[in-house]
Symmetry: C2
Subunit: 367 residues, 2 copies
């Protein structure tokens, strides 16, 4: 078990990762919250609850109130939020109630947002069940839902009381989701942690075989990296931007494919290839570093083929939420273990980077 | 012109009250925000904009983007919020955009909530146009909307960059709304400001005639009282509870009449009568103080008749959002200029207080 401390100006809490956390959840929350309130809500999805509901419930003396969110990005809406808020009100939720978000990234985003706005804020705990949610979306306090006009356009910064990332629940995660999630760990290594890059290079087999020790190490290192950045830049004004390595092009790929073809981690994987290319052209990484990091990304692949035109992708990079005042921002790797933000990527550079990425992503399998 | 400073752990800002603020709004905001962003949104209602839109717009070099909220409590919903968020997204609002809430309490509550959740938070400014919004809802950071299950069940604590309470716009306010709003100033005096009680006793005619000097004095004193309380208890954990004098029964009256018969201030006026009765019975105020304060309330009346049964009102007091863990809280006056919170009001006491209030509120005009 490892404990990572998150300390921002507005919240201090622990992220706990390890095995057997789910079986002991209620006493762990009681230790933090003092005692469990009269109303404990669990936001989850039916498939997750079918697999893990019994284990989850066992440690609670009184059964919590279960709220279901239908799985899939298309239910990450204000409509779902309204429905869930009403269920909470009808079930007698008050300001002292607690919400536990038990599921993947969407459950975490919606759960954190529900907790942020129900009666102007109640406490909540994150229990992420996917690799991606464990290393990424459960730390940082970003919560919210989509609008038809764009992803994550509505939400708030709202930190949980604690995060419990149980390695055991990853046992039922589909292989493709694990591999996609691991792209965020590759990213963590590239921007901030050389030792993680090396560990992931040398232990790919154990990690992909879901060896508990290997997974715990990768997850803890990824969370520690993100916590370190968030601790210094809660509101994404500066340093936190580097967490978006691979995301400018990654988001564009997701948008251009209607969020239906690629998992988020897969889009970020391709986006990192484009960013590595830009970094190499600008000399922020060497040719050797470029080859090494590209190999690492493919080691945790395969990334899906892309059947897209460069033009469409480039157009989509213009609508990223992180663009303030029309400036298009890029995160570039700086050696291995550091990164920086640039705002002056010219259209021809971008075209070259996206074309390089697409050449790798064609019908012939990427190597 | 008077400036009242609000300083909470999470925000510091000024509330400015006086005449001629609307005519000079843009430069005033620029002084605070540095410069106006590319997208300035104004949330308002059509009737307000018809009266004051031209004056409002005159000081802006570039016309702001106007968003309309339909007037009335029934549009204070998540449905309206979603519609407005989408309009903002389509109009190109980004994280640097600014929202100005220009209207009564509902516009302020919805506007503050939009600003809280659009792209996880943008800046906003309050320009309240009713007496009630100027003295009450624009200070304290409470924002949000209703659910079918209850009022203000959804929202967040979100402070504005600044509040500009222009006395001039009160010129077009219906008399009944002014009188209802003044109940919050009576409340401010009772719980925290003996001098305000005296001023309102001695200057009722000037205040009700909308004499600018008299209004500015009452408004500034009311805001100063509330700011002082909020400064010490931002999240309503303790002291801030005293702001709810008259609200336990007041909310019950609003609920029991379906929010259609009474203005909020009128309900609070009647609720204060019940609270004064409880205070007198418990000896927290003397018989003389009871008479004096009751006279003051009626001086700013008339309060509307109530055709309700005590039973129904008492049942409705149980569903107040401020009740945590099932406890029914009451704020009682302590002398003139102080107040305290009790949680042990027994049903017979409550019945007596509500019955006294109803006896005054019967078809024979209250005296």
């Amino acid at each position: 078990m490892q404990i990572i401390r998150v300390e921002t100006p507005s919240a201090k809490y622990d992220v706990v990762t390890g095995s057997g956390l789910l079986e002991t959840l209620a006493p762990r929350i009681e230790r933090i919250a003092g005692r469990l309130p009269r109303r404990v809500f669990v936001l989850t999805s039916a498939p997750i609850w079918a697999l893990w509901g019994e284990v989850f419930s066992a440690s609670f003396a009184e059964p919590p109130i279960i709220l279901f969110l239908e799985p899939g990005e298309k239910f990450k809406t204000l409509g779902s939020v309204e429905k869930l808020l009403r269920e909470m009100a009808r079930a007698g939720g008050d300001r002292g109630s607690l919400l536990i978000a038990f599921g993947g990234g969407i459950v975490g985003d919606v759960g954190g947002f529900l907790a942020a706005i129900y009666m102007r804020g109640i406490s909540y705990v994150q229990v992420p069940t996917t690799f991606l949610a464990q290393v990424d979306s459960s730390v940082g306090g970003k919560t919210g839902v989509n609008l038809p006009e764009g992803k994550n356009l509505v939400g708030s910064f709202n930190h949980p009381l604690a995060v419990f990332a149980d390695i055991g629940v990853l046992g039922t995660l589909p292989d493709r989701e694990l591999r996609a999630g691991l792209m965020e760990s590759v990213k963590a290594g590239i921007i901030r942690d050389r030792a993680l890059v090396r560990f992931m290079e040398e232990n790919a087999e154990a990690v992909l075989d879901r060896d508990a020790k290997a997974l715990e190490k990768v997850i803890a290192a990824s969370i520690r990296m993100k916590a370190g950045v968030v601790n210094r830049d809660e509101r994404e004004n500066g340093l936190r931007m580097i967490l978006n390595l691979g995301h400018t092009v990654g988001h564009a790929l997701e948008q251009a494919t209607g969020y239906k073809v690629l998992l988020h981690g897969e889009a970020v994987g391709w986006g990192m290839i484009a960013a590595l290319y830009l970094g190499r052209k600008r000399g922020t990484i060497t040719g050797g570093q470029f080859e090494r990091l590209q190999t690492l990304i493919h080691l945790y692949g395969p990334l899906p083929e892309l059947n897209l035109k460069a033009k469409k992708i480039i157009a989509a990079t213009g609508s990223d939420k992180k663009n303030v005042g029309g400036v298009r921002r890029f995160v570039l790797p700086v050696g291995i273990g550091d990164a920086g933000v640039v705002e002056d990527v010219a259209p021809p550079e971008l075209v070259a980077a996206v074309s390089y990425m697409l050449a790798q992503a064609g019908p012939a399998p990427a190597k």
